[in-house]
């Protein structure tokens, strides 16, 4: 859950714009979280649960690995 030194980089912001400039509010409603959680995810300040990661991936029709890029070895 720690944001500092998180090995993941979220692709949510890019994917939102690629999906018709979906708003953070719309995305939050679709996955059942608050807009603040989407903001934190986009800023890499929060590592989501597996359930939320899968829900987000399904919205954008990508895999979880594509949505959260694992950067460190």
């Amino acid at each position: 859950m720690t944001p500092k030194g998180s090995p993941f980089t979220s692709q949510i912001r890019r994917l939102r714009f690629e999906h018709g400039e979906m708003t953070q509010e719309d995305l939050a409603k679709r996955v059942g979280v608050t807009r603040q959680t989407i903001i934190a995810l986009e800023a890499n300040r929060y590592v989501p649960s597996l359930l939320l990661a899968v829900r987000l991936a399904r919205v954008f029709q990508v895999s979880v690995e594509e949505l959260f890029v694992f950067e460190s070895g």
Binding site: M1, T2, P3, K4, V33, T34, Q36, T37, P48, L52
Partner: protein, 133 residues
């Protein structure tokens, strides 16, 4: 502002009100023990939960809120435990020769401990909400 953040600010506000009530009562009565009645305003801490009882899961709206709350609660209890240890050591050292501790030094520890725990929990909630759990 998230519901959790509002709740944290509300709790800090009620505690500030409790301290003001205590100081006002102490200024008027000059009685340390009687002035603790001022902390009765802490009953307002339970008002949001009573009013919003029908709103499911309030104020923890999603998994991030729950993560923040859990961490803040642990830190709150940690502060409470630390304060209790400091108080016990201080009381032990201060009254060791007398063999007994006056009630005036025992009774406030409940109020002060609860206040410290809630203040620490609320501050940690606000910090973690800004920085991430």
């Amino acid at each position: 502002m998230t519901d959790l953040r509002k709740f944290a600010w509300y709790q800090l506000g009620v505690i500030a009100l409790g301290l003001v009530a205590y100081l006002v009562m102490f200024a008027t009565t000059r009685n340390v023990m009687a002035s603790f009645a001022g902390f009765a305003v802490l009953a307002f801490l339970g008002v949001p939960s009573l009013l919003l009882i029908r709103r499911r899961r309030w104020p923890l709206t999603d998994e991030r809120d729950r993560a923040i709350w859990s961490r803040a609660e642990v830190e709150g209890y940690r502060v409470f435990g630390l304060a209790l240890v400091v108080w016990a050591v201080w009381v032990g050292a201060s009254f060791a020769d007398k063999g007994q501790v006056p009630l005036a030094f025992v009774f406030p520890v409940v109020w002060v401990g609860i206040l410290l725990m809630i203040v620490a929990r609320s501050i940690f909630t606000l910090v973690l909400d800004s920085r991430g759990p």
